[in-house]
């Protein structure tokens, strides 16, 4: 139950600026996710909160107490933080019990209390019967739980998680996701979670900070940043999206690539725009504004993933798998659009694509 305030934190390694003027407050009991592609600076931010890196400039406060900044630096061991590392960092020369008890042993907690608290936390992560095992006798998922138990045992007010699930297989990852969320709810602690997996971020977070090239692109609830992205990068990073160049004229958006076909638009933007369309927001409709020809389809059971050629452009449509019994390739088809995201054509899209390729 702790707040983290980050004031204008910039971090550079030599000339390489990895984080620019990060300025944010994480509230009490919040589940915060730092999301972004690898190398975006999210892990560096986490390590600065932990005290493994010092900010080049700016200050970090935990519970209104300055921990990094100016001449003040509180070393990691004095910050009372729990942390789970990507590689788990479970010590191979200690058994599960000793690993988990370590933070309490360091604090010279009485033996009886250690036993009680370790027992409790092992129970939470379902490892009670493994207490005497050594790490090399545990599976990846179990080691991960040991790391989590160790991070929780000293009842920290703040828990940092550095891509804790990335080394697990898909099934385990999904179940651990909910377990971590459940534990956080039960204990009410503040969590800062770093990941590059947007599904993880969406499923667990109260607030997501989407970071790219050291700059926060947008922050907000999962719903906000999915549905109201502030720029093309955010729209592209979360979920599936197709971009089209368009021009707003007379209350409509015209798409040159679609042979000049248009859709109605009543938003504020004018002139040249980037239009982002999520494939689940397009549907087949006999009197839709866009006319095209079905080029290919992939039946995936729950959905039918289609590509429709509209003019020169290829539009992706995710239709419900039950909606149409039979679509034939080459069939003439009309499309309607539920909602679009319209951005000013400021060249960001081009620069974004440049990085991708």
């Amino acid at each position: 139950m702790s707040t983290v305030s980050i004031r204008n934190v910039t971090k550079a390694f030599g000339d390489n600026v990895v984080l620019k003027e990060f300025n944010e407050t994480f509230g009490d009991g919040e589940f915060i996710t730092l999301l972004g592609p690898s190398g975006c600076g999210k892990t560096t931010m986490l390590r600065m909160i932990a005290g493994f890196e010092k900010p080049t400039s700016g200050e970090i406060y935990i519970d209104d107490q300055l921990v990094s900044g100016g001449n003040t630096f509180v070393p990691p061991e004095k910050r009372s933080i729990g942390m789970v590392f990507q590689s788990y960092a479970v010590w191979p020369h200690m058994n599960v019990y000793d690993n988990v008890a370590y933070p309490l042993t360091i604090k010279k907690t009485p033996k009886g209390e250690i036993q009680e608290r370790v027992g409790k936390v092992l129970d939470i992560v379902h490892l009670t019967q493994y207490a005497k095992r050594f790490p090399n006798q545990l599976s990846g998922g179990q080691q991960q739980r040991v790391a989590l138990a160790r991070a929780l045992v000293a009842a920290p007010k703040l828990l940092l998680l550095d891509e804790p699930l990335s080394n697990l297989d898909a099934k385990l990852r999904e179940s651990m996701r909910f377990e971590i969320k459940e534990i956080q709810r039960k204990l009410g602690i503040t969590v800062v979670y770093v990941t590059h997996d947007q599904t993880e971020a969406m499923a667990m977070s109260d607030r997501i900070f989407l970071i790219n090239r050291g700059v926060v692109q947008q922050s907000g609830t999962p719903r906000q940043i999915y549905n109201e992205p502030e720029n093309q990068f955010v729209a592209d990073f979360l979920g599936k999206v197709d971009f089209f160049k368009g021009e707003v004229r007379d209350g409509r958006i015209f798409f040159p690539a679609m042979g000049g076909q248009s859709i109605p638009y009543d938003g504020p933007r004018t002139g040249n725009v980037d239009v982002a369309i999520r494939p689940e927001n397009i549907f087949f409709s006999p009197d839709g504004p866009l006319k095209g020809r079905l080029e290919s389809q992939y039946y995936l059971g729950d959905v039918d993933d289609c590509r429709v050629r509209v003019g020169d452009a290829l539009v992706r449509v995710i239709a419900s798998g039950y909606e149409f019994d039979e679509l034939r390739d080459g069939q003439e088809i009309s499309l309607d659009i539920r909602s679009v995201m319209v951005f000013e054509d400021d060249g960001l899209l081009e620069s974004m694509l440049e990085i991708k390729t």
């Binding site: 005290g51 070393p75 061991e77 729990g82 590392f85 960092a89 370590y102 991070a151 000293a154």
Partner: protein, 821 residues
């Protein structure tokens, strides 16, 4: 395709049987040959091939010269026969062998055999004809020579003929049998004049190979009877070698048979030949010699006795050598580890200033010949004139008496050993620290532990297995070191096992027995420790694979950063800089006792000698050649082995690996000693005091360094890289050259240098194995130091040091900074 399998199985089994039978044949032939040799009582085995040669040569001599002369002269055959017989009996001083070989012969055949025997006898040990007179005889025209032969035969059989001046001169004053003997000798010499039959080379060889007259008689009769054909002479003249090869072939087949049996797949594989070749090499040059040594120690007079051992271990000098070795090695181990761990941690895990510099500096010591350090410390801590002692005396106002520090003592020995062997522990621990996932330490920090607590509770316990492995390495290295104790111990009467062994070997065959006893002690010690570190400790090593590698966590030393850096620099100065500076300064001195700055005490003589004196250049050349050959053979074996170990699942690939590990774990002195015992011909190989024995010894000791480097590089390369090349259409060979080769090239280069450098300046094995033509630079240096001129030795030492540093630089450039030592 069962039919193909079936055919392969038949081919395989047939090959095994044939090879086995060849092995048996060679063994039996060799045994027979060796018995012939022992029965004959010849001095050298090659006597048999000489006998075979003589058969042919006398044949030709008789056909070409003697028989025509006999015919042309018309001398009475029986008279010639009688004369020859008489002469032979008097030359041989016995009649028995002659009777035996001439039995049942008559007429032409009898005369032929007698004349051939006489030709050989006179060629080897007949009445002497001086070179001047031989020249006169040779100067006669062809026709006169032929005439002379006839005249000589007639004269010898009592039908006196006038002889040409040269021949007459020779016979002057001789009467009766002596005259006849001289006539026949002139006859034989003249017959043999155009050099073709009975070559002087053969004669000279047989003089060496058969040294007593009665045995020579045996050789003549065997030659004249044609007792040996090319095959039997081969078996007789290399009996032991054939026995050895035969046993090896049988052993190979047996090993192969068990592998095939275990595989249940009777198909021959080329790779097995590679494995068996390496195994055979190690068996002959490592296992056989060490076994010989052990047997010699326990069976001094070919039956079991503990007398050698008892004599050794009740003799005070040896007992104190044993104790000194154990104490010195143990203290060095403790001291070295205590120094190495904090250094490795500071360099690997903190923000010490100049970490990279210190790291390469400490590692470089690893590549410096230890005796160089001993020389430097001797200059510094000599009780009378040591620089440090002089300074201490001046500072504390002590009297001129020796001291206060004395290098010629057990603590002195331990100190120098420590400064040269702590890098073993440093390297082992540093490597383990580099591999350790930094988040293991970070997890401790975030759990509330301070940096110091983290070191104590996490870093140190996790490093324990590597630390023990490094410590044991230091122990063995210190216990089997010869260079340092020989320089420091000998003058101070601080003996160690190695110096005692080399003392004993220097005393010849008497000392050899005692040397083996001490050698066995050293070997057992090394093997026990090798076993502990390779099989007990290695199993406990924690494997920590980090996920995404982050920058290694740097512990902020804070306000301690500058003081700690100063401390480490001070250590580097004391251990590395000052000793090397002393070596360099001494190399320019005329008089050791004076300062370099004193009037006339500076000279370049030592340095100019190094680069100009022939003997020095010869030694340098030897060192380079031996080291290059060793490193090149070594790296080929290393690449083969790493391919077998890393890329095949073939049975038996671990056997050569095991033998190579065992070899490098054996103390140098023991390797050399056992090679001396077994490579002097007792087992069919005689390479004592040749270049071969040096190269073989270096290979056994240093091969593993190169092998480990290449193996670990190859294990880093995922097989898929090679498979992808093959799927792209490249053959196996092309894949090796285009993909694997370039990828592991830096390691191959590094491996080559790792074998080259220690072979280049090797001392302890060289001291035991050198011959007149195979002195090396390391040995030359040692001789200068102990017998002639210390400044000269220092100059050589510094030259060696420069070679090492330059090679290190080349290696660094060659591998684009990936490797330096």
């Amino acid at each position: 395709m069962p039919s193909v399998d079936k055919r392969g199985e038949i081919v395989c089994k047939a090959t095994l049987i044939v090879v086995f039978l060849i092995g048996v044949a060679l063994l039996l032939g060799g045994l027979w040959g060796n018995r012939q040799f022992e029965a004959a009582g010849f001095n050298q085995e090659n006597a048999f091939s000489l006998v075979h040669q003589l058969t042919g040569e006398t044949d030709r001599l008789y056909q070409k010269k003697i028989a025509p002369a006999l015919k042309a002269s018309g001398a009475d055959l029986s008279a010639v026969s009688d004369v020859s017989r008489t002469l032979l009996v008097s030359a041989w001083k016995t009649e028995e062998p002659l009777k035996a070989t001439l039995q049942g012969l008559s007429g032409d055949a009898l005369a032929e055999r007698e004349l051939k025997l006489l030709a050989m006898t006179y060629a080897v040990s007949g009445p002497k004809i001086k070179t001047a007179q031989r020249k006169q005889l040779a100067a006669l025209p062809q026709a006169e020579q032929t005439a002379l032969l006839n005249q000589l035969l007639l004269s010898a059989t009592g039908n006196e003929q006038p002889l040409p001046g040269a021949a007459e001169d020779l016979c002057k004053g001789l009467e009766g049998e002596e005259r006849t003997a001289m006539l026949m000798q002139i006859f034989m010499t003249t017959a043999n004049l155009d050099g073709e039959p009975l070559s002087s080379n053969t004669v000279a060889e047989i003089k060496k190979a058969v040294r007593t007259e009665d045995k020579r008689v045996t050789a003549y009769t065997w030659a004249v009877e044609g007792r040996f054909n090319w095959l039997s002479q081969l078996f007789c003249s290399a009996g032991k070698t054939f026995v050895l090869i035969g046993i090896l072939l049988m052993l190979d087949v047996a090993i192969l048979f068990f592998w095939l049996l275990a595989d249940r797949n009777w198909q021959l594989d080329f790779k097995w030949i590679l494995i068996l070749l390496i195994v055979d090499f190690m068996l002959v040059f490592q296992v056989l010699p060490t076994v010989t040594m052990v047997i010699k120690a326990f069976f001094p007079d070919s039956h079991f006795s503990l007398s050698t051992i008892e004599r050794l271990y009740t003799y005070d000098l040896n007992l104190s050598a044993l104790m000194n070795t154990l104490i010195a090695a143990f203290c060095t181990m403790i001291l070295g580890t205590v120094i190495a761990f904090p250094l490795a941690w500071l360099v690997g895990r903190t923000n010490l200033y100049g970490k990279r510099f210190f790291r390469s500096l400490f590692v470089l010591t690893y590549m410096v010949p230890p005796y160089v350090g001993a020389m430097a410390w001797l200059r510094l801590l000599n009780p009378n004139v040591g620089n440090i002692n002089l300074v201490l005396r001046a500072v504390f106002g002590l009297s001129d008496a020796p001291g206060p520090l004395n290098i010629y003592s057990l603590p002195g020995l331990i100190w120098v050993l420590t400064t040269f062997y702590y890098p073993y522990a440093f390297i082992t621990v540093s490597r383990a620290m580099e591999k350790m996932d930094p988040s293991l330490e970070e997890a401790s920090r975030i759990s509330g532990a301070s940096p110091i607590t983290t070191v104590a509770k996490i870093t140190f316990p996790m490093m324990t297995p590597s630390l023990i492995a490094g410590a044991l390495l230091v122990f063995v290295a210190a216990a089997s070191c010869y260079g340092i104790p020989s320089i420091i111990g000998a003058p101070g009467r601080v003996h160690t096992v190695t110096t005692r062994i080399i003392d004993y070997v220097g005393r010849g065959s008497e000392g050899m027995n005692d040397a083996t006893g001490l050698g066995v002690f050293l070997m057992v010690l090394a093997i026990i420790i090798l076993y502990i570190s390779d099989f007990v400790v290695a199993k406990r090593q924690y494997i920590t694979v980090s996920g995404k590698s982050t920058r290694p966590n740097i512990v902020d030393l804070g306000k301690w950063r500058t003081p700690v850096t100063v401390l480490v620099s001070l250590f580097a100065c004391i251990v590395i800089l000052i000793p090397f500076a002393v070596i360099l300064i001494t190399s320019f001195k005329v008089d050791l006792g004076k300062s370099l700055l004193d009037q006339g005490n500076f000279t370049l003589k030592q340095w100019s000698t190094i680069f100009s004196w022939d003997e020095m250049l010869d030694c340098l050349k030897n060192s380079f050649i031996f080291a290059i050959v060793t490193a090149t053979i070594g790296i080929v074996v290393a690449c083969t082995m790493s391919y077998l170990l890393q890329r095949t699942r073939i049975r038996g690939r671990k056997l050569p690996d095991f033998l190579i590990t065992l070899g490098s774990g054996t103390p140098s002195v023991v390797i050399a000693l056992s090679l001396i015992l077994s490579m002097r011909g007792d087992f069919g190989i005689n390479i004592y005091k040749t270049a071969y024995i040096m190269i073989i010894a270096y290979l056994i000791k240093y091969l593993m360094m190169g092998m480990r480097t290449v193996v670990s590089a190859m294990s880093q390369i995922h097989v898929s890289l090679e498979e992808c090349s093959q799927i792209s259409g490249a053959s196996w060979l092309k894949t090796m050259f285009r993909i694997t080769g370039p990828l592991i090239f830096p390691s191959i280069a590094a491996g080559w240098f790792l074998i080259f450098i220690p072979s280049f300046y090797e001392l302890s094995m060289t001291t035991l194995l050198y011959g007149n033509g195979t002195k090396t630079i390391g040995f030359e240096l040692y001789e200068y130091w102990t017998f002639t001129s210390q400044p000269m030795a220092c100059a050589i030492a510094f030259a060696i040091l420069m070679v090492v540093v330059i090679l290190n630089y080349v290696l660094n450039k060659l591998t684009k900074g990936e490797f330096s030592i």
